[in-house]
Each structure stands twice: as structure tokens, then as C-alpha cells.
Symmetry: C2
Subunit: 313 residues, 2 copies
């Protein structure tokens, strides 16, 4: 009975130290120091190398160290055991901070005021729409999307949500998979918070951008993506900005991360970039959550946040 | 029975047209075209020239066209009639947009990420505090302060409020006039939303800044002022930024407006400037509110938003 941390792209050492501190009584190891593979009953993973998990004969479950699990499914030899993802109130709240801040920056034209300040120009730009005049559309109405929707509405924005399977949320205009066009046609500011799956890969493309509202109070519609970089076609974002189909884009995630130096997104005047930190998590809280799920499973209960293997989220 | 619009610094013509459109049956005039002074029963004012109102023998009331009334009291010959100020839901909501946006920009270090983007640098800066770790303190707990406090709390900030007379707001930590030091000592980000009165003029000075919390999650404390420029001593803000007593300042209001070209605030790297537009109002809504107050008063009722002449707000 041991837990294997199987982490790439992050430094595994602080994770090993954290998990051992949170559960000093447990046998916790970090790949590639697996020891006897037959000892491992659970794996806590972030972008595990392909094929590592399939060689663990007694593996009973996998817990993703992030809210998304597309990185888990990237392993073609993924063993057939339950997979859980992290849902953490702190992570959710931070994602909503990012969404509300960037929605307000667009609404209030803060980028323009920044530019005016650099020129020492005192100008009050009109018309100045109120939040209620801006129609925000959230794609992905899971825990993150619903929290962002609620907070945007408190600030005054007009919010609607779209998800593959339509969700009923009190007081909120919601759309299901087949009503995507209708949802897009009423959306001035699109916020992508959905999971990356075979169905959503590349969904944020020129054809989708062209279906957004053309009559919004800020002019051309705006894209914000804090879901996954694989949702977006970056060449199409650039084309849409340049042809005026999009008025601006705020991106936290990218096709390749870190965003390569040569990407034209970096210095595009209509693009805001944050380094995939919209919803960083309190790592101790994540560690405690992972341990709590493993303890549940050991007691014979299912993971609370078990992923649907077919839908891949 | 006529209404006099007594407006300087704004263009009075659109206001005259607006008020005549909203109340076509009324006799509405704009200073300096007063006609017979004995006709005027109410004045709707924005920075009225000193002494104009005292020459109206039948004046029954004055309504400020803005939420603040310091500009009304600047008239040393102000007649002794009731004074009302505008309270408008749209204006309140816009002020809270400004407060929430700029509080988040500080919390999330968006200025630093803007600078990193210009250098094409992908860096995730830690520690990254969550909203709950930042102690926001609002000075001025009227309609604007209470709305901002509620919205900041929804986003997750730790909020407290201070006002001359302590207000009880459910679930909110509040302080009264004599507990200012205690309030400041727990405040990492100070938001000034109070009225400008003889008591509050210049209150935002070096001595006050030095009493703010020194142990906040963002380092040095931060000032945000969207109240009135007269609350702040700009030389002290600059001194406090330069000595590290303040970490940053976001200012919508200034001692002199428009902010003079030569002000060192414009290009200070730790200062964000917006052109006194934090809470612009829907001017039709303001016009309707002014007319509703005059109609009330004509029916023998007091103004709903009558100002306390002694407290001056």
C-alpha cells in the first residue's frame, strides 16, 4: 500500500515533501523512484509519462493533481481504474477572481485608460456601458463556470451559460449542446471554462468567433479562455483579431505552454496574456483533497469527483 | 415656478435639453439665462458660481446633480434651503465595478503580468494570495461603501468598513470615527469612498498612510481613492510611494481636475489614473431623480436624500 506521485513539468520534490508532511504515516514515493511496482495502490498524477501507470499491477485509482484531467487521458496506456479530479473551493474562487477582473477590464476599457495615462491624457470615453449592458457567455457550466456566473451576476453583468448537457441554474439563462449558435448569437464576451475532450479540442476557432454577437456595446466580441489551451486555435484567434471578428482576447492557456517566445500573441495589442495561473491552487489544500479521496476509496466508497471515462471529464 | 440649472465645468446645453425632454410641461432655465429671479423655486446644480443662488428670493430647495455635495457647499453665500444629493442605483453599481476591478488588479498583480507580457516573459509569481488573504478597508460606509463592501465580499476579499458614525452592517466588521487607528492597522488595501467635508479634507495624508498594516500579503499597503480629490494630499501620496509606505495607488479623483499635465502622478510606475469616471451616471436617470425630488418637495414632503448641513453630506 503506497501512493505514487507521478509528476512531470512541475518539480516533484516539493510535492513529495508536502504529501509526506500531510500523511506522515503513509508510504509515499515519487516517480521514477517507484520501488516495487506491486506496492503502489494509488497514483496522484500531473502529466504522467505514457505507460508508467500500466505497469502498476495493484493500482486501484488515479487522482489528478489539477481540476482538468485531459493530461491524464493523454496516456494511451491508461489503466482501467477510477480517476478523480481535484475540486477545491480555493481554486474555484481564484478562477472567478480572474474571470471577474478581466471581464471588468474589458467592460471599463481599462487598457485604453492605461494607454491614455502613458500619454498623460485626461479623457472620459463615452458611451461607457454598465455591466448589465454586456452579455457574458460562459462555455462550461461545471463548478468553475457556475461560480464565475454567480459572481459576474453579482457585479451586474448579463450572464448566460452553455454546456454540452444543459444545466438548470436558478435565474440563469442556460443553453445545451445543440443550442450553441443561439448562445453565441447573444454573447458579447465569451468565457471558456470547459474541459478539454476530443469533442472540445479546437472548438474556439474562426467559425465559432464569427457566430458571436456583432451588435454588442463594446463593438466586436471578446474572447477569454482560462479552460485549456487545446480548446483554442491560435492562428484563428489572430486572424479573427486582425479581421475585426474579435475585438480583444484574454488568454491564460495556450496550445503550447509556456507560450513560445516567437508567438505573435505576446505583443499583439489586443491580447492579454497570463501564464496559466488563473486558478492556481493552495497546494496543501490540493494535497489534503487527494488524500481524502484515497482514504474514501480505501474504505470502499467511490471518489467524490470521479471522472466519466467516456466524456473524459 | 421654474427650475434653474446652475452648471459650470460641464456643458449645460445637453442638461437643459434633457430636463426639458423629461419634463416638457415645466419651465426650465439654465444659468446665466435666469430671467426673473423671483420665478425660480428649485435649483439643480453642479459647481454653481458663488452667490448666484442667494439672489433667488423664492428658492425652496437645491438638488446636486452628483452624489457628492462638497461643490454645493463651496458657495459661501449658500441660501438656507434644503439640499438633496443624487443617489442612483446605476451610479452605485458602476462605482463598485471600479472598486472590484482595481482591487483585483492589485490582488492578482495584473500590472506586473502586463509588464512581463511586454517582455514576452512567462513567469508565475509566488506567493499568490487569494482574495481572502487581502484585508480591504473601506472609508465611507454610505450607499456606495456598503455596495462595494458587499461585492468585494462576494469575490472573497476580507472587508471592513469605517465611517464617522459607526454603521452596523450584517456580517461586516465596522469601525466608527474614534477607532480609525484600529481600522487602519488591519487594512492592506484602503478604499476611500467618503464625502469631502471640512473634517475629511486632506485626511489621506502621510500620517494616515503610515498607520496602515505593514504585514499584508502584498507587502506595502495600497491606496485607492474614488471619493473626492480633496480627501488626498498628493505630495504625501508621492512621498509615501517613494519611501515605501505605500506600495501602489489607484486614483480616480485629484486635487485639481483634470489632473495637470505636469503632475508626477501621471507617469509614476506605481500609480494608476482614471479620469474621474469611476461612477459616471446615466444622465437621464439623474435627471429623473432630480425631478422626482422636486415633485416630492412641491407636495410638501422632504427630499429623500436631504443632506445634513452641519455634517455637509
Amino acid at each position: 500500500m503506497a501512493i505514487l506521485l507521478c509528476i512531470t513539468q512541475w518539480d516533484p520534490v516539493p510535492w513529495l515533501e508536502r504529501m509526506r508532511r500531510l500523511a506522515p504515516e503513509r508510504d509515499i514515493r515519487a516517480w521514477p523512484d517507484v520501488g516495487d511496482p506491486a506496492d503502489i495502490t494509488y497514483a496522484a498524477v500531473w502529466k504522467q509519462p505514457a505507460g508508467v501507470l500500466k505497469d502498476l499491477p495493484n493500482l486501484k485509482g488515479i487522482v489528478s493533481l489539477g481540476a482538468g484531467v485531459d493530461h491524464v487521458f493523454a496516456d494511451p496506456a491508461l489503466p482501467d481504474v477510477p480517476i478523480a479530479r481535484v475540486i477545491d473551493a480555493d481554486l474555484t474562487s481564484r478562477m472567478s477572481e480572474w474571470v471577474v477582473m478581466h471581464a471588468l477590464i474589458h467592460l471599463r476599457r481599462q487598457r485604453l485608460y492605461d494607454a491614455l495615462q502613458r500619454e498623460r491624457l485626461w479623457r472620459d470615453i463615452r458611451p461607457a456601458p454598465a455591466a448589465g449592458e454586456l452579455r457574458v457567455g460562459i462555455m462550461g457550466m461545471g463548478v468553475l463556470g457556475q461560480d464565475a456566473a454567480a459572481k459576474l451576476r453579482t457585479i451586474g453583468f448579463s450572464v448566460a451559460g452553455w454546456s454540452r448537457t444543459r444545466r438548470t441554474v436558478e435565474g440563469l439563462e442556460t443553453y445545451g449542446g445543440d443550442a450553441l449558435d443561439e448562445f453565441l448569437a447573444r454573447t458579447d464576451l465569451l468565457v471558456a471554462l470547459m474541459p478539454l475532450t476530443p469533442d472540445t479540442r479546437g472548438i474556439l476557432d474562426l467559425s465559432l468567433f464569427r457566430r458571436l454577437a456583432r451588435d454588442g456595446v463594446l463593438g466586436a466580441p471578446i474572447l477569454m479562455n482560462a479552460g485549456r489551451g487545446g480548446l483554442q486555435v491560435e492562428a484563428d484567434i489572430l486572424a479573427a483579431l486582425d479581421e475585426g471578428t474579435l475585438g480583444a482576447a484574454t488568454l491564460d492557456v495556450f496550445e503550447t505552454e509556456p507560450l513560445p517566445q516567437e508567438s505573435p500573441l505576446w505583443l499583439h495589442p489586443k491580447v492579454t496574456i497570463t501564464p496559466h495561473n488563473s486558478a492556481i491552487s493552495d497546494e496543501d489544500a490540493v494535497g489534503r483533497f487527494v488524500l481524502s479521496q484515497i482514504e474514501r476509496h480505501e474504505r470502499g466508497l467511490p471518489f467524490e469527483t470521479e471522472v466519466d471515462r467516456r466524456a473524459r471529464y
